[in-house]
């Protein structure tokens, strides 16, 4: 708002009619652009599953609050009822005051409107926070829940023991929903320079994902946004810039479908029938990636077949 007022004053200072007209046009365009950038481009159908994804968010710094404000603004036009948290939900101190400053305060508007947050843990999270009621983890490091035709699996990629793998296999096997969405902290595929893919986790998770038909995987850890080309038929998203940011960290490769590493960002997702629509939005409200993907056609035990996301 301050920005627009400033631009108006600049326009007033120029008295020449041509310049004034140009300045007015620029002002009108920038106002339209600012408003349109904050509108979701997703279908927002009545019966669809709508959610947001944030990762590496819990800094308590202004960029986290900016992202939270953008989410709250977009919630008015795209009423998502849940947020999946991709780990590193709280950085540094993990006291009750930190939980307020780095979680419940920035997302207060969303929490007040009944939006539920479902967390997975990152390497900077204190494991005791699995009992934090606003993260809905049911006191577990890994858990699953379903809504309509989607089942979400929140996993712990920090410490993957046999018990978790057995549980995951059993839950995936028994899942009857059309969409199987897994999320956790460490990305199995990544084109970011700092960490790169967590291959030790990939060799244990991926065979289960492929065998039991996981459709989409969300991860954080890298402080950027990235959408990867489907790997073994599975769609992979990284959204680890919900508060932290590593500017210029992406090193594009053949597996990069889209990426954004210039500002903090978050992801909105809508699943309607066999279609998943997504929109990645920056801290300033600019859509940095969007598209629709079709649910992969496959028989259980076969690799998924897909063409990847479409812009």
């Amino acid at each position: 708002m301050k920005d627009r007022v400033y631009r108006f004053h600049v326009a007033q200072r120029w008295r020449g009619p041509g310049i004034r007209l140009l300045a007015t046009l620029v002002l009108l365009w920038s106002s339209w652009w600012t408003v349109s950038a904050q509108v979701s481009t997703l279908p927002s159908k009545a019966d669809s599953v709508k959610f947001a994804a944030i990762g590496d968010a819990g800094t308590g710094d202004p960029p986290q609050y900016d992202i939270a404000n953008q989410m709250a603004r977009l919630h008015t036009t795209f009423p998502f009822d849940r947020v999946i948290m991709l780990g590193d939900n709280i950085y540094g101190g993990q006291s009750a005051n930190d939980l307020i400053k780095k979680f419940s305060q920035p997302y207060k508007v969303l929490l007040d409107q009944g939006v539920k947050f479902y967390a997975s843990l990152g390497n900077h999270d204190d494991p005791v926070n699995i009992r934090y009621p606003l993260w809905n983890m049911q006191g577990q490091r890994y858990y699953d829940y379903a809504t309509k035709n989607v089942r979400f699996f929140a996993l712990d990629s920090n410490k993957v023991d046999k018990k978790e793998l057995d549980w995951l296999e059993n839950e995936l096997k028994n899942s009857k929903e059309d969409w199987k969405v897994c999320y956790f902290h460490h990305p199995l595929y990544s084109d970011a320079r700092t960490h790169g893919p967590s291959i030790d986790v990939r060799v244990v998770f991926e065979p289960l994902f492929v065998t039991y038909g996981v459709n989409v995987v969300f991860a954080g850890h890298e402080h950027v946004y990235e959408r990867l080309t489907p790997q073994k038929g599975i769609y992979y998203f990284i959204e680890g810039a919900g508060g932290e940011l590593r500017k210029g960290d992406i090193k594009r490769s053949s597996t990069t479908a889209a990426a954004f590493d210039q500002d903090q960002s978050f992801l909105l997702v809508e699943i309607d029938g066999n279609r998943l629509s997504f929109q990645a939005i920056s801290r300033t409200g600019v859509t940095v990636d969007s598209g629709t993907i079709e649910r992969q056609a496959r028989a259980q035990g076969q690799e998924l077949t897909s063409e990847g996301g479409r812009r």
């Binding site: 204190d126 494991p127 410490k159 018990k163 960490h195 790169g196 030790d200 986790v201």
Partner: protein, 398 residues
């Protein structure tokens, strides 16, 4: 070079003292240590290279080999360490009588407490709470590694047995912590205890029946002990630790890590001779399976174990000071500067820190951070040399 190969006369004269000195050192230090110094680094180097060039194939290999190496194979390495400790309790041994070990044991407690506290405080300040569950690994001291460093600095000196007793005590405390605080969720402690009682009873029976072959001890009580620990939720790599002391042994100890004489034919010595080569293979595989960690994108948690190791000497010094004030005696010719250098050498965690890490942490990035930290602790050897040089201790004495 073959000993029969012809040499120019002047060259022979020049090299003879060096060659004979190396031979003398090799004779004094057991083959076990020499094997350790060769096999483990080769395994570690190969693992680092493999994991950072073809990571997917490496982690698949690691996943397949983890159980046979870390849960079965390494049990024989711990058996050889236990053999050295068991022999040290014999007359002439470093642990005979037990009160000789009192000061190093107290110093070890100080070192363990300070290193675990440092480990936790470091993680707290670095914002890496996920690694806190790995605190028993902060107690680990690599016995052969620190022994080699102290031996190189001090040669023959009371610092050497002191270091060994200290390291053995610290690792024993760490193992107890792993066993008590890190038991598996599906543990069946009653069944485990019952099986262990049977295993120990059978080992005692074999000893009483004057069974001199080590195979029956390994195959029956050893196997039972492995299942007892496995079912009891304790790391089964320690299966032979309670069995080895029952093997018939010599009347007197030759010294820790000292090569047995060719005339020695007691069961414990035969066990060592038979298993030394296979354990060399196990150590190579242990390095290969456990040391493969990515060398990029390091998190702050990697430094927790090295920092804990570097601060350990202060805990050792403080505990030793308290123990001496309470009336315990320092070995003759062993001063505070020597103790500080010994403390620096104990900052090497290597195999024991790797083992403790895998015992307390399931696979994943957190374990990789701990493993890399365990590897970095090798630098403690260099620190010990630098401190020894600065303080003019051991080989650097004026």
């Amino acid at each position: 070079m073959s000993p029969d190969a012809p040499h120019p006369a002047h060259s022979e004269r020049e090299h003879q003292p060096a060659v004979s000195r190396h031979r003398r050192i090799a004779r004094r230090v057991s083959g076990f240590i020499l094997d350790y110094l060769v096999a483990l680094p080769i395994g570690c180097a190969a693992a680092l290279l493999w994991a950072n060039t073809l990571p997917e194939s490496y982690y698949r290999f690691e996943r397949v080999m983890n159980f046979p190496v870390n849960d079965i194979g390494i049990a024989f390495f711990f058996a050889l360490i236990t053999k050295e400790v068991a022999e040290a309790t014999l007359p002439d041994g470093a642990l005979h009588p037990w009160r000789r070990a009192a000061l190093p044991a107290v110093a070890a407690i100080g070192g363990v407490v300070v290193s675990i506290a440092t480990y936790l405080l470091f993680l707290q300040s670095a914002g890496e709470p996920m690694l806190m569950g790995g605190w028993p690994a902060a107690a680990a001291i690599d016995i052969p590694g620190s022994y080699v460093i102290v031996r190189l600095i001090f040669k023959r000196h009371p610092a050497v047995p002191f270091l060994l007793l200290l390291a053995i005590s610290a690792d024993a405390i760490g193992l107890v912590c792993v066993a008590v605080f890190q038991t598996g969720g599906d543990a069946q402690p009653v069944i485990g205890l019952a099986l262990m009682a049977i295993a120990v009873g059978l080992a005692a029976g074999l000893r009483r029946g004057k069974v001199n072959s080590f195979w029956p001890y390994l195959l029956v009580p050893g196997t039972l002990s492995w299942f007892a620990l496995f079912l009891g939720g304790v790391h089964p790599a320690l299966a032979l630790v309670p069995i080895i002391p029952f093997l018939p042994h010599a009347r007197r100890d030759r010294g820790l890590f000292v090569e047995p004489t060719p005339q020695a034919h007691d069961t414990l010595t035969l066990f060592e001779r038979w298993w030394r080569l296979p354990v060399e293979g196990v150590l190579l595989l242990f390095g290969l399976v456990n040391a493969g960690v990515p060398l990029h994108g390091l998190e702050a948690g990697v430094w927790a174990l090295p920092v804990a190791g570097l601060v350990r000497p202060f805990g050792i010094l403080a505990a030793a000071w308290l123990a001496i004030a309470a009336g315990l005696h320092v070995p003759h010719g062993f001063g505070w500067r020597d103790l500080l250098v010994v403390g620096c050498a104990t900052s090497i965690g290597l195999v024991f820190a790797l083992f403790f890490s895998t015992a307390v942490m399931p696979l994943g990035p957190v374990l990789l951070e701990m493993k890399l930290g365990a590897l970095i602790t090798i630098a403690g050897g260099g620190v010990a040399f630098v401190v020894a040089r600065l303080l003019h201790v051991g080989r650097f004495a004026r």
